[in-house]
């Protein structure tokens, strides 16, 4: 069975400082991992995905994530936060099923 654990329900940063959103996964197979973002009252948008190619994945809006099998982690980072990054972020895992398994989400707040 697959699962993801997002270690922080809330993260607050100042504009211009780095962002780190943590995600650990559990999977019986080689997983595919995603990060989705949900802005207030909006649908979900894919930020990036890992599907067994390069372990460092670059996404949209300056985000990237590194797949670390030894740590079963897929943390999302951005060097410098922008006010528009304030949103809910979901770490997602899937493998050979057709189901996306969502984490519980991390709310990112960005202060000026």
């Amino acid at each position: 069975a697959q699962s993801v654990t997002q270690l922080d329900s809330h993260v607050s940063v100042s504009e211009g400082t780095p962002v780190l959103l943590r995600c650990n996964y559990s999977s019986s197979y080689s997983p595919s991992l995603f990060w989705y973002v949900q802005h207030p009252n909006k649908g979900l948008q894919l930020l990036l995905k890992y599907t067994s190619a390069a372990t460092l994945v670059k996404g949209i809006n300056g985000f990237e994530a590194e797949f670390k099998k030894s740590e079963t982690s897929f943390h999302l980072t951005k060097p410098s936060a922008h006010m528009s990054d304030a949103a809910e972020y979901f770490c997602v895992v899937t493998s050979f099923t057709d189901k996306l398994i969502f984490g519980t989400g991390t709310r990112l707040q960005v202060f000026p």
Binding site: S32, G43, L44, G105
Partner: protein, 113 residues
């Protein structure tokens, strides 16, 4: 053009009523999904269809019945609405399997009074 659209955006109704939510995608995708997001923002898949055929049917009350008249549409009909059905329902589509990027609609906020 909106890739995945849902109607209505908001739906307020009384317990016991029957309601439908419609979803359309203009991406030419083969697979469509329904997700439920509860008040704590937790997202869970309900159904998926591939080429109008039901692929995933999670443990969802049989009051919920998806219908796919064609590849571009996946509607969700809910009978005898209950308070616990209040949530945001998201439709999504992908080219084929879950490994493909899923594109989400804007969501339908259902409130059952």
């Amino acid at each position: 053009d909106t890739a995945v659209s849902q109607t209505p955006k908001y739906l307020v109704t009384q317990m016991g009523n029957d309601k439908s939510i419609k979803c359309e995608q203009n991406l030419g995708h083969d697979t469509m999904y329904w997700y439920k997001q509860d008040s704590k923002k937790f997202l869970k898949i309900m159904f998926s269809y591939n080429n109008k055929e039901l692929i995933i049917n999670e443990t969802v009350p049989n009051r919920f019945s998806p219908k796919s008249p064609d590849k571009a549409h996946l509607n969700l009909h809910i009978n005898s609405l209950e308070l616990g059905d209040s949530a945001v329902y998201f439709c999504a589509s992908s080219q084929s399997l879950a490994l493909d990027t899923q594109y989400f609609g804007p969501g339908t906020r259902l409130t059952v009074l």
